[in-house]
């Protein structure tokens, strides 16, 4: 059964999946998602930060200030153990959604 929070869940899945590869700061995170989805998923500042803060409050990610190579202070986000645990049910939901849509479109085209 696909839950009602699937829309928000997909955005959270995108963030958690990208952070699984390593810590990133907000701007880089948005760019990485855009690059990896070939522009299909884009996060503006207004969409990204409330979501990051909410995920941080839930304990899925943790932000910490770091000095980048350019000497600029940036807040880097990394996945927490709770975030890693959250990834697998989210992936399952996501796969279920795509499976359902695939079955549906096949029926429609038959």
């Amino acid at each position: 059964m696909i839950g009602p929070g699937i829309k928000r869940g997909t955005a959270e899945l995108a963030v958690l999946s990208v952070l699984e590869d390593g810590p990133l700061h907000g701007y880089e995170l948005a760019r990485r998602i855009e690059q990896q989805t070939k522009g299909a998923l884009r996060f503006t500042l207004a969409a990204l930060y409330p979501m990051l803060y909410r995920m941080e409050q839930r304990g899925w990610i943790r932000g910490a200030w770091e000095i980048s190579e350019s000497g600029r202070r940036k807040r880097c986000y990394r996945l927490t153990p709770a975030g890693k645990k959250k990834l697998s049910p989210l992936r399952k939901e996501w796969a279920e959604l795509f499976g359902a849509l695939r079955r549906l479109t096949r029926v429609l085209h038959a």
């Binding site: 700061h25 907000g26 701007y27 503006t44 930060y49 409330p50 200030w65």
Partner: protein, 233 residues
């Protein structure tokens, strides 16, 4: 060079967070905007156009402000509510009722308030446990201290310390109109006087005793705050 931070400070002027947390959000968003603009400039876009495109990421700053605030404080509100209201309330309730039970079992005989008719007591009757009433300000003070220490507002503090008398208050508030309606139809009339004496003995007197303790803590903490302000100024 554009001062993105000042710009974000102005746009997020309504952001009601702790000063340190607010400063972090502002710095983070300003860095994001700065990097976006720099990237656009690297792609050869003119500065004014780059700034306009950067700022177009946020259509409604007021809305963003509310969403950030809600994301940052929603979970806190839940835990704060527990610390500032529910925990002191339940502790006050537990101590108040536990002490009443102990006094009823092992304490001195209660003070019976009633009109005497020869050898018999005639209603209205109230059973007043004086040692219990005298100990309530201490319990109230404890509840108030816990709520205050967790950063509770005055409302949270006073609500948590009168929490033990609220069930009795609800009972009397429900009983009064019910009595007013059904009094004439009952074989044994219920006396309004008894109900008001009960209201005094189980709601007003214990409530006032609990509040007295809370008030002491409130006065004490206000004085401490004033003296700290005086030292800092």
């Amino acid at each position: 060079m554009r001062d993105w931070e000042s710009m974000v400070v102005e746009y997020l002027s309504g952001l009601a967070l702790e000063p340190a947390e607010r400063a972090e959000v502002i710095a983070e968003l300003a860095t994001h905007l700065e990097e976006t603009c720099e990237e656009l400039r690297r792609r050869g876009i003119a500065e004014e156009a780059a700034v306009a495109r950067t700022l177009s990421q946020v259509e409604d700053w007021q809305n963003l402000c509310q969403r950030i605030q809600s994301a940052k404080t929603k979970e806190n509100i839940m835990t704060n509510r527990v610390k500032q209201f529910w925990l002191p309330s339940l502790l006050t309730l537990l101590l108040t009722m536990g002490l009443l039970m102990l006094i009823q079992l092992f304490g001195p005989h209660p003070w019976m308030v009633a009109r005497k008719n020869g050898w018999t007591l005639v209603a209205p009757v109230a059973v007043v446990y004086l040692p219990w009433l005298l100990s309530l300000p201490v319990i109230g003070a404890m509840g108030a201290y816990l709520s205050r220490r967790a950063g509770g507002s005055r409302l949270a503090m006073f609500s948590s310390i009168v929490f033990p008398v609220l069930p009795y208050l609800v009972f009397f508030l429900l009983a009064l109109p019910v009595m007013a309606i059904f009094n004439d139809r009952l074989a044994h009339n219920i006396m309004f006087g008894a109900l008001f004496v009960g209201l005094f003995a189980w709601v007003l007197a214990p409530g006032a005793a609990l509040l007295a303790g809370g008030l002491l803590i409130q006065v004490f903490s206000s004085r401490r705050l004033d003296s700290r302000r005086f030292v800092n100024s």
